[in-house]
């Protein structure tokens, strides 16, 4: 089976870029990473189809290509589309709640870590966390830029504050 080298290289670059972007704390970058990974996988499906360029249903003469991977890619694209729409809604909600779009550490995990460590270690940990928050890359500005008007009008936020 001959495959196109260009497709393989593009696929590899997309996979690498996707993984790199997904490792970020910023949800928007995670979304971009997911889109890249999804497209990389779609390309992989196209590559396993064999020589590209032929029509899936063409009659007896002329080059034909395997129609099944195309059907699979189509399904995968639709699924990726639906999931990215959901992720966008999630990012918007996270931003609305005043958290930029960062994924924060679990409170229980932090509590457990504090219990396990000595007092001095805990201090160190907290410093680390503070650094981390500053260095975290986000495409939105931090807490200060959160949409105050929406917060004021959202009943959920009030409840969170009372807690």
């Amino acid at each position: 089976m001959n495959v196109s080298l260009v497709l393989v290289v593009i696929m590899a670059v997309l996979y690498a870029g996707g993984v790199y972007a997904m490792l970020e704390r910023s949800l928007t970058r995670v979304l971009i990473g997911f889109l890249l990974l999804g497209n990389a996988t779609n390309l992989l499906l196209l590559i396993v189809m064999g020589v590209p360029g032929g029509a899936p249903f063409y009659g007896d003469d002329g080059p034909q290509s395997d129609p099944l991977p195309q059907a699979l890619v189509l399904t995968a694209i639709v699924i990726t589309f639906a999931v990215s729409a959901f992720l966008l809604a999630l990012i918007y909600r996270s931003w609305q709640l005043g958290h930029a779009d960062l994924v924060e550490d679990d409170a229980e995990d932090l509590a457990l870590r504090e219990r396990a460590a000595d007092t001095s270690d805990v201090m160190e940990d907290e410093e680390d966390d503070a650094d981390l928050d500053d260095e975290a890359t986000t495409d939105f500005v931090g807490l200060g830029a959160a949409p105050l008007t929406i917060i004021a009008s959202s009943p959920d936020i009030d409840r969170e504050d009372e807690r």
Binding site: S94, E108, R159
Partner: protein, 520 residues
Amino acid sequence: MSWSLLVPMLVCLPLLGAAITLVLGQHRRWQVGVSIGTLSLTFGIAVALLLVVDAGNPLAVSVAGWDLPFGIVLYVDRLSALLVAVSSVVLLAVLLFSVGQGAADGDDDTPVSIFHPSYLILAAGIFDAFIAGDLFNLYVGFEILLVASYVLITLGSTESRIRTGTVYIVVSLVSSILFLTAIAMIYGALGTVNMAHIAERMTELPQDVQLALHLLLVLAFAIKAAVFPLSFWLPDSYPTAPAPVTAVFAGLLTKVGVYALIRTETQLFHTSDINTLLLVVALATMVVGILGAVAQAELKRILSFTLVSHVGYMVFGLAIATEAAIGATIFYMIHHIVVQTTLFLAVGLIERRAGSTSILKVKGLMKAAPLIAVLYFIPALNLGGLPPFSGFLGKFALFDAAAAEGTPLMYVLIVGGIVTSLLTLYALMRAWNLAFWREEEDSSETEARIAYLGEAPEAQRQAERRVIPRIMTASTVGMVAVSVALTVFAGPLYEVCDRIGQSLLQPISLVELGSVEEGS
């Protein structure tokens, strides 16, 4: 009437129900009626299919009339039918529980009109995954149930749910992409996605290619099944969701992953062997999971960690890879689906009654709510594996199958399994002692003794105590009754599981699948 006509109904009915409940968003009573009706129907169909399939051959349906290796195939054997039947029961009970909860909270205004459609789509996804006859349809089934679960886990979209939901969603996305990549690789190597066809052609591949494909697929499923070291997302994300959602996730979603692992190990890759790796991973899953549970002070977290740890038993049984062991695994899976869900429902009742699920705060429930005490105690003993409950029977069958192999590693795993079982009992009974047996007025001595169980300030907040509607208690009682019935009728159930074990180790061929289809 041909029985195979019923097979696609398992997916179509819940999807139709989801559409209807979405339209009926303003009429809660109708929504509830449609949901309950749909799930009751699927339960009936699943039981009928189980009886048909158990008496004769498996059923295979080619969707839209495509020829066999090309089109989508729905395939129902004993394993699929049994799992669909059990999950229908669980889905129905949890639905009743959540209806009780929703109605009592009076949340007619909040956007929970989306709950019923999402729940039914989740059911459709679970059923589709269980009856998928080709890998790509399995992937689609997974995606259906995952997208529905994304909605359910962030229900109400409060701050904490968004945070934990994000973790769950991103991890699920990664596993989905791995799964899709594995499918692409397998298609590239074999030119088919039909499971029977894959099993036939797989033997022609070189051993190392088989191993690479095998590991990639197992990796994707192991994330879904929460097998150590890919399990850390689970205790992080499950406890924050609403009680009924956590209950159904804990009971069913990881089991769909385990089901996919069973199919992969027994039918797809019967010539590629990673059993030693799986045994080591199973041991780590059991022990690390249960140590996590012992360190926790919040009931939902304790249960999430025991869930991870008990997935280890199923991987253990799968890795022994004898007929007896596969049978025992399936019995254990059924037991665990029911018992884990029941425990989460019982904790939902505790949360409502006491306003908290932290065992540091909850106390004196034995006198205040004796019924909840019983509803927690029975499944707790069951999960801990005390005789005569089904948990004991399942574990005993697993250890028996392992001892029959008799290698040193098997004995290490048996010891690990027993220790895990005892630690499960310890974690659950400590929670029982603190939440139920402790007096309302605490002695300072007790306070000092449990001081080591610190926890996050977030977990210590006290919600208001609310009345428990009768329907919530009733559905929990129903689930406890089902779990006890698993013990009482363990004999017949075990025979079915044994037959599943025998049939799973003989891979089906495409020709056989075709003949089954024509005959039906």
